[in-house]
């Protein structure tokens, strides 16, 4: 049995445990009294808040229970926010504004330029060259209390080919930022105090992730000195398995890719303890067409596969476990009412029971992105509404950070205008509306949410059992299991849209606009900029021509003799470009054979 099979058993066991706890609370008087007391204490701890209209509310809404069995059920199945099994929320308080925002002592906090809370907003951005994206980062974060810079890379960077590679000229700086060298990396985050706790960086890249993180670390050292490592905060995606299953950006074969990843995790847990070295992602799985249940099942099982892999490498689950984070999609299907909540619970149980993870390793920390694929070109301003609905679902699931898509998503890297609306959508939901800022758990707990959650949980387990049958996650990957399921669902999705089974307003019903091409501002990268990127790259390679070959040889050696490749990369990136490094690594470990 693989660890995934053990997770299934652990969850089944946990369900039996819940039933036994409920029974015990009802039959064992002493235990029942303990539960009631715990409940009273929890309620007593809840502070109060006053809304602008003068309504007094508790800062946490709990179900109105006075019977020990039902209380035990709530505590075991859902848990208080920040408590096992974390169904309600990862932390005791999220999105809440400070208790007495109107009181005198908070006078100085009433700064109209900044939100009262540490906002979850983390907008994905990348366009043109490093300085263009840098300008976008400054624009997006100008009103933010916490500056969360989330980086989209262009195609050549994602595939680890240099801007000078044959036939890629047109793609430089399109759909993301072009990064070829450590110097580009310095330009990318210029002006941001990366050593400060209110700045964090996210890099959405997996194939060449260790190279990019090495560039980031070295660029930060250039700016903030050699000791900056422990101060750096952020995430790099580095999710090898979902690349194979859905996103198609793997460069090296699976085995060396996992090894490079483990080297990076090993290094960063030691030297960059505030960094999240992997973001286990379901977003791409869902966007490639998977159903919500498939998304959750493949993502969680990938997560458990990583934990197993790192553990086998001798890493400590309580050291790397708390540094794992997740990234899920949130679309319009009904499953999203409870999907992420259920994921938190499954993760917590699996980590505790199967891998021996402590509290901090049990918590599934979640970034959510609203669904890009639900946004369409026809009558495209409707995308504002779609995103708003999805955002609300994401916050009902207590996501820890969030990207909301821009309405111009079907066409282009967002223009400033629609990126602003996307950010404001979050502010409207969390700061302007009263839904989330006064009280935790305002909306969860409805019968519908529970019914959906239970159905989703069982369906995820069923998928786990199927994957286990296929020899566990890696066995199933090898057999194309996840890929073929995702593709079949993607095909079904498109057919449902064209058959009208799945209503899409403006596309298969209510055509109030013709088929004329709409007015959209396309954000493209100019030829001159593309050429500038090429020139910079060639100039860098020329300046480092003497050292680069030697550095690459040393890198090959480290790969061959089993040393820590990430650690070596922190030296290689000083003198070599991304394209040079991937090319060399491909020579040593081979290329990923595409799965279609």
């Amino acid at each position: 049995m693989t660890p995934l099979g053990q997770v299934v058993l652990a969850i089944e066991e946990y369900r039996r445990f819940v039933v036994s706890q409920i029974r015990k609370a009802r039959t064992d008087h002493e235990f029942g009294q303990q539960i009631l007391q715990k409940w009273q204490e929890a309620k007593a701890r809840i502070g109060t808040t006053v809304t602008p209209t003068g309504l007094r509310l508790p800062r946490l809404a709990l179900p109105d229970l006075d019977e020990a069995g039902e209380i035990a059920r709530f505590l075991c199945e859902e848990g208080l926010p920040g408590e096992f099994p974390y169904l309600t929320a990862a932390y005791p308080e999220q999105y809440l504004e400070p208790a007495a925002i109107n009181s005198k002592e908070n006078e100085n906090r009433r700064n109209h330029e900044k939100p009262f809370i540490e906002e979850p907003t983390r907008l994905f951005a990348g366009l043109g060259l490093a300085e263009d994206t840098n300008a976008r980062f400054h624009y997006l974060s100008r009103n933010q209390r916490s500056k969360r810079l989330s980086t989209a890379f262009d195609g050549p960077t994602l595939y680890g080919v240099g801007a000078a590679a044959d036939g890629v000229f047109g793609k430089i700086g399109e759909g993301g930022v072009a990064i070829d060298t450590v110097e580009d990396m310095e330009r990318l985050y210029a002006g941001f105090a990366l050593d400060q706790p209110n700045v964090s960086v996210s890099m959405t890249i997996s194939g060449p992730a260790p190279i990019l993180l090495a560039m980031f670390l070295v660029a930060a050292k250039h700016r903030f000195g050699p000791d900056v490592g422990p101060k750096l905060r952020g995430t790099i995606q580095a999710d090898v398995l979902k690349e194979v299953q859905a996103q198609n950006e793997l460069i090296f074969p699976i085995e060396p890719s996992l090894r490079f990843l483990a080297d990076m995790v090993d290094y960063s847990s030691r030297e960059m303890p505030r960094w999240y070295p992997i973001s286990i992602s379901g977003y791409h799985i869902a966007e490639a067409g998977a159903t919500p249940v498939q998304q959750a099942a493949y993502t969680l099982s990938n997560g458990f596969a990583y934990v197993d892999y790192f553990r086998n490498r001798g890493l400590d689950v309580n050291v790397f476990g708390p540094r794992l984070s997740f990234f899920l999609d949130c679309g319009l299907d009904v499953e999203y009412v409870a999907l992420a909540r259920v994921c938190r619970k499954i993760w917590a149980i699996g980590m505790r029971e199967v891998f021996g993870g402590g509290n901090r390793a049990q918590i599934l920390k979640l970034h959510t992105q609203t669904s890009g694929r639900s946004l369409i070109a026809a009558d495209w301003h409707n995308n504002l509404t779609r995103t708003a609905v999805e955002l609300m679902l994401a916050c009902m699931n207590a996501t820890n950070s969030c990207h909301s898509n821009s309405a111009d998503e079907p066409f282009t890297t967002p223009s400033e205008e629609y990126a602003r609306y996307a950010a404001h959508a979050q502010a409207i939901l969390l700061e302007e509306s009263g839904l989330f800022r006064h009280m935790m758990n305002t909306l969860p707990g409805s019968p519908g949410m529970k019914v959906i959650g239970n159905a989703v949980e069982e369906a995820i387990l069923e998928e786990f059992r199927e994957i286990e049958q296929q020899g566990g996650v890696l066995g199933a990957v090898e057999r194309r299991y996840q890929r073929s399921q995702i593709q079949a669902s993607g095909h079904m999705l498109e057919n449902q849209i064209y058959d009208g089974v799945r209503p899409v307003i403006g596309l298969n019903r209510y055509f109030d606009q013709g088929r004329d091409w709409p007015e959209v501002r396309m954000m493209r990268t100019q030829k001159e900029q593309k050429r500038l990127q090429l020139d910079r790259l060639q100039d860098f390679e020329k300046r480092h021509a003497e050292e680069s070959e030697r550095c690459l040889d040393r890198l090959s050696e480290v790969v061959d003799n089993g040393g820590n490749v990430f650690e070596e990369l922190t030296r290689t990136v000083e003198h070599c470009s991304l394209g040079q490094m991937t090319e060399r690594l491909c020579e040593v470990v081979g290329k990923f054979r595409p799965m279609v």
């Binding site: 000229f169 079907p410 064209y498 279609v596």
Partner: protein, 391 residues
């Protein structure tokens, strides 16, 4: 009538394959033969494959920008070949291709762009209407030696495949002797890793043979007469996307046994072109009874049976006919459980066969696998030794 044959792909540095996967399936459902080249493919790879497969059109699905340049590059590469009739280029990319972009692309010779929200039937209708019966004639002799000349010959041979092969062609034990090109046939059950093994052999060929030496691959995929098919082997190839490799995919069009009715003719054309040092022929995944190259293996010079180590749980060894016929037996995926058992079982079987068969163990999905090195030596230089059985 032979099916419409097209090639589809996603451009370089782009992995958005969800749209093309769906579109491929729709095309196939409507009787079109689709050769899928996969994602992250360069313009050169796409143009080369289209010529070698002699398709009527190329469909590209692009999302990561730069489509004006990329489509233009493909058109230019095709034009340089002076193809008759020209291969048309069409495609889509949701909302990333604007109407204004499309106008520029049409000006550059692109035939048709499908915008976001286009119903799937509309694309099928377009192919049916525009490419239903494109007449194809042999290229003039001035083109002899070019990929398009050869690939057109193969098309004409393949399209005659409704007819039974001529007697002289089937009894071609003699024809084997006249050719200067060595034909190596690879067969085995689906999932054994034949395509990967071929690609790895090609890599070694490219490294070890002079830059003017070429190899050919003839690959079979299952298809049914009168319906579409997905010919997808090219998509998983890495090293075979190379000017020194000529690859052709053919659908079996209803033939059982692993090959097509036109295989014999296609092989002869490839061999007699004298362009290739080696021809690697891959059958479709075969069942236990298949002896695709004939008992006297008249179609090939050397036959290779590729087996996954876990066959034992599925088919009993005694029942696999090819084990008695193949010159070389390869147990691939040697990392999987059961490889040891498989080797021992096959070893004892071929020992009793006393036919001088070779047995090798490979792990084709591992970079620089020494088992593949040995296989390469054995097949391409004739010097290597496998676990050669006592004579």
């Amino acid at each position: 009538m032979s099916p419409i044959r097209i090639l589809t792909a996603v451009p370089i540095c782009d992995g958005h394959d969800s749209a093309i996967n769906t579109i491929n399936l729709e095309f196939i459902r409507h009787g079109i033969e689709v050769i899928y080249l996969g994602y992250h493919r360069s313009a050169r790879d796409i143009a080369r494959a289209a010529v070698q497969e002699d398709v009527v059109a190329i469909g590209l699905s692009t999302y990561n920008g730069g489509h004006i340049e990329f489509f233009g590059e493909v058109v230019d590469l095709l034009e340089q070949r002076r193809l008759a009739p020209p291969i048309k280029l069409f495609g889509g990319g949701g909302g990333t291709i604007t109407h204004a972009d499309a106008q520029i692309m049409y000006g550059h010779g692109v035939d048709r762009i499908f915008f976001a929200g286009t119903p799937l039937e509309e694309m099928v209708k377009y192919l049916r209407g525009g490419y239903g019966d494109v007449a194809r004639f042999p290229y003039e002799l001035a083109f002899a030696g070019s990929d398009q000349f050869l690939s057109r010959q193969l098309t004409l041979a393949d399209n005659g495949s409704g007819l039974p092969p001529q007697a002289s062609e089937t009894a071609s034990a003699a024809s084997k002797r006249v050719r200067s090109t060595k034909v190596i046939g690879l067969t085995g059950p689906g999932g054994a890793g034949k395509t990967t093994l071929i690609d790895e052999l090609v890599l070694r060929f490219l490294h070890s043979h002079a830059a003017d030496r070429r190899a050919a691959i003839l690959s079979h995929d299952p298809s049914i007469v009168g319906s579409g098919a997905l010919l997808g082997d090219r998509a998983t190839m890495i090293y075979s996307q190379h000017d020194r490799v000529f690859m052709r995919s053919i659908g079996t069009r209803g033939m059982t046994g692993g090959l097509s009715l036109s295989t014999d003719r296609c092989l002869r054309i490839l061999a007699e072109s004298n362009l290739f040092e080696f021809i690697l022929m891959e059958t479709v995944g075969t069942g236990q009874e298949a002896i695709p190259f004939g008992v006297d293996r008249h179609l090939v010079d050397q036959s290779v049976l590729v087996m996954p180590p876990d066959y034992g749980s599925r088919i009993q060894l005694q029942k696999i006919a090819m084990i008695d016929v193949a010159d070389v037996i390869v147990v691939n995926k040697a990392d999987l459980r059961g490889a040891r058992t498989a080797l021992t079982e096959i070893e004892s079987r071929i020992r009793t066969n006393r036919k001088g068969q070779s047995l090798l163990c490979t792990q084709a999905n591992r970079h620089r696998d020494t088992g593949v090195d040995q296989l390469f030596e054995l097949l391409f230089t004739g010097t290597g030794t496998g676990t050669d059985t006592p004579k």
